[in-house]
């Protein structure tokens, strides 16, 4: 194959849980790219595979789906890619369908639709091991002959059948032949006419019948004549109250049932297996919640305790690198930039990598084993109250660790409105970066001696509850009131429990790590440099406290004071707010510089407690501390979150909206604290 010939594209489609990702990973390994389709929150995954002859081909992994009739944006994307209407992906030269051999009837339903696209189809008959264990006879030859497309048996997890698959991908695949299922006569007339009109206009195109069905369902692309005809038929069917889409589904299933019977392939009997026995416990209304609570406890303990060690090593490594630079470079601005700007800024974010890896390790295990579907099922009724589905729970929970993995985990939420809502409220869940800010401010509000530790814990809990409660109220507002409709009623496949594949889990962790580190190396690096510049220029004074006061950040603080005054904040707090735009915990280190407090928290708390306004009254009254706490619960002081939301939603619109609404909430919340406190005479 010559170098400059464009590579062939193959789209991989299949039902959820058919083993599509496993097969895709097996074929492409680490040669994968993850992105977003323009403008929508649907993940786009492509990768390079090699045929047995060494020809490089591009695979695009489409979202798992049950049907091609576009109803959800996922299916719309899939349809667009398959039709060659998606930017950046040419029309596929062939389609690889991944089907679960132990559940052929439902899986082949999608194949009958895919075959109508007029593109060559190859079917990977996956999970033959499971099917055989269930006593289903696998007859690829028989199926190929009856359906008119090639079936190849595979076991994706063990790499069985991959060689044959790669060989077949290298050969020229034949177009799927005639439609095999029987259309009801009434519909057949309509489809025949529309397809003929299509062929008259565009004789070269294959799959006119599939096009006709698409037009009948309300599709908008196609020659004018065919479109008009389709509209007329649609209207006639509506008048006759003829539910033709239902008839099509039934006709496809009827054909498959008969064909599978003739081919001697039954589907497994409905008998209770150990999956049902585990479900009896896991889905039990009482015990199920216990299991869920246990798993979540384990997850969070690991995120906070196990991750503490590697986090400390990263911290030590970054400090050591800083120390080494201090010694090795001549004193000067450039050194300061590297040490205080670049290393401190990037280090402050990279330190969350272990938490992210652990979270995705657990999520991978839970998803791959089949448990995540059960958790979603259990939580669905709770989440339904605010208009979300059970799938939003895990991302929200993860956001207690850090909003970034939480937002990345929203990829498991299929409904795009649900996903967007989850992303929008996720940063309201108090993340671990807020902890240092909370503790410092609580200590500044009430002297440690006066405040027993249970009260401190209670105050912390109150802050968490405030964030969580607001998140649910806003989720309800965004999802139910603004986007409309509430999430669709639950229909969820519960896959059988399986031993998770460590390879899949490891690949997923690797992928998240790369995404995360790449961002730390680009966006966050740039922002850290910018922030350092703001805090250090104009470079007039040698004394750091003086310099910060006169810097751009200091000037911004002064400029902000009139706005912040109603909240009880002075310009120094303004500096803290500006500096902690990149990451909340920076507030503490910035305030240490502002108050000349050195590195220790106690010194800072002392300095804050005695700080006063020009008229001598204290700045950090308990009320102001509370206002500042509320501000930090709500404000989106985290540019990494903004960057990740931009990435995940594919536009600047949502991060901008998020920043605005959260800033509004923070300001209003802090103001309310002062106003109510003032009224109560506090």
């Amino acid at each position: 194959m010559s170098q400059d010939q464009p590579r062939r594209w193959i789209a991989v489609v299949g039902n959820p849980n058919a083993g599509k990702s496993t097969l895709f990973n097996a074929l492409t390994g680490l040669r994968q790219r993850v992105g977003n389709y323009p403008g929508v929150t649907v993940e786009k995954r492509t990768g390079t595979a090699y045929t047995l002859h060494g020809e490089a081909i591009e695979l695009v992994d489409l979202p798992g789906m049950y049907s091609l009739s576009p109803r959800s944006p996922d299916e719309e994307i899939a349809r667009k890619v398959l039709r060659g209407e998606s930017d950046g992906i040419p029309q596929p030269d062939a389609i690889l369908c991944v089907v679960d051999a132990s559940n052929l009837e439902r899986n082949l339903f999608l194949v009958t639709q895919v075959m109508e696209l007029g593109i060559p189809v190859l079917v990977a008959l996956n999970m033959v091991d499971v099917a055989e264990a269930r006593g289903v006879r696998i007859r690829p030859g028989e199926l190929s002959q009856r359906m008119g497309v090639k079936f190849l048996p595979t076991v994706a997890t063990r790499g069985k059948g991959l060689v044959e698959l790669r060989a077949a991908l290298g050969q020229k695949l034949s177009d799927p032949g005639e439609r095999r299922w029987v259309m009801p006569p009434q519909l057949a007339t309509a489809v025949g006419q529309i397809a003929a009109a299509w062929r008259d206009a565009l004789p070269a195109e294959l799959g006119a019948e599939g096009r006709a069905l698409e037009l009948l369902a309300g599709g908008k692309d196609g020659p004018e004549g065919a479109r008009k005809l389709a509209a007329a038929w649609r209207e006639r069917f509506r008048e006759q109250a003829y539910d033709w889409p239902a008839a099509v589904v039934q006709a496809r299933y009827a054909y498959l049932k008969e064909m599978l019977g003739q081919a001697g392939v039954g589907h497994g009997q409905a008998h209770l297996t150990w999956t049902d026995r585990i479900d009896a416990l896991v889905l039990n209304p009482v015990a199920g919640w216990g299991v869920l609570a246990g798993i979540l406890t384990l997850l969070f303990t690991s995120i906070f305790s196990i991750a503490a060690y590697p986090m400390e090593w990263i911290d030590i490594a970054f400090s050591a690198a800083g120390g080494w630079l201090q010694g090795a470079m001549p004193a000067g601005l450039f050194r300061d930039l590297l040490v205080d700007g670049v290393l401190a800024g990037v280090g402050g974010v990279v330190i969350f990598l272990p938490q992210i890896l652990i979270l995705f390790f657990f999520l991978g295990l839970l998803e791959d084993s089949g448990y995540l579907a059960r958790a979603a099922f259990l939580l669905d009724r709770v989440m339904h109250r605010v208009g979300l589905s059970g799938k939003s729970f895990i991302p929200l929970l993860s956001s207690y660790a850090c909003a970034i993995p939480g937002i990345m985990a929203t990829r498991t939420v299929e409904d795009p409105k649900d996903r967007l809502t989850t992303i929008l409220v996720a940063p309201l869940m108090s993340c671990s970066a807020r902890i240092p800010v909370y503790t410092t401010l609580i200590a500044a509000a009430v002297p440690a001696a006066v405040m027993p530790s249970w009260a401190k814990a209670g105050a912390m809990l109150g802050l968490y509850a405030l964030g969580t409660g607001t998140a649910f109220v806003l989720a309800w507002l965004f999802r139910k009131k603004m986007m409309g409709g509430g999430s669709p009623p639950l229909i969820l496949e519960l896959p059988p429990y399986r031993r998770p594949s460590l390879r899949t889990v490891a690949l997923r962790m690797w992928e998240r790590a790369v995404i995360f580190l790449r961002r730390a190396g680009t966006v966050i690096l740039a922002l850290s440099i910018l922030l350092w510049f703001l805090c250090n220029f104009p470079h007039t004074a040698e004394d750091p406290t003086e310099r910060l006061a006169q810097s751009f950040a200091g000037q911004i603080g002064h400029a902000l004071e009139p706005v912040l005054r109603p909240l009880g904040f002075d310009w120094r707090i303004g500096i803290g707010l500006v500096a902690s735009l990149a990451a909340r915990e920076v507030f503490v280190s910035t305030m240490s510089i502002v108050y000349h407090a050195g590195g220790e928290e106690e010194g800072l708390v002392q300095a804050m407690r005695s700080a006063s306004w020009p008229d001598g009254s204290l700045i950090y009254t308990p009320l102001t501390c509370l206002a500042l706490l509320v501000f930090y619960v709500y404000a989106l002081q985290c540019l990494s979150t903004v960057a990740v939301v931009r990435r995940e939603t594919g536009s600047w619109k949502w991060p901008a909206f998020m920043m605005l609404y959260m800033a509004g909430l923070a300001y209003a919340g802090a103001w309310l604290v002062q106003a109510v406190g003032g009224m109560l005479g506090g």
């Binding site: 049950y66 009623p489 896959p495």
Partner: protein, 78 residues
């Protein structure tokens, strides 16, 4: 043969879908997942939300949806 909805079926029983009574989009999704008219469904777990065996897979449904799936008992299984 008595018409009832899926929530009224006892766990472990197998029934045949006779009619779907829901919004067109939802109906279509149910059919595509295997809940076609005449399809055989075995209820695995009852409760507020339920789990059925249909077309070779376990599918969980909310009770709200299950009430819209009308079913009939099959001879020899009543």
């Amino acid at each position: 043969m008595k018409a009832m909805d899926l929530t009224q079926v006892g766990a472990g029983r197998e029934v045949r879908v006779s009619r779907l009574d829901c919004a067109p989009g939802t109906c279509q999704r149910l059919r595509e997942m295997g809940f076609c008219e005449n399809a055989m469904v075995r209820k695995i777990r009852g409760g507020a939300d339920l789990v059925c065996w249909v077309c070779g897979t376990r599918v969980a449904l909310s009770a709200r949806l299950a009430r819209q799936i009308l079913v009939e008992t099959v001879d020899g299984n009543s």
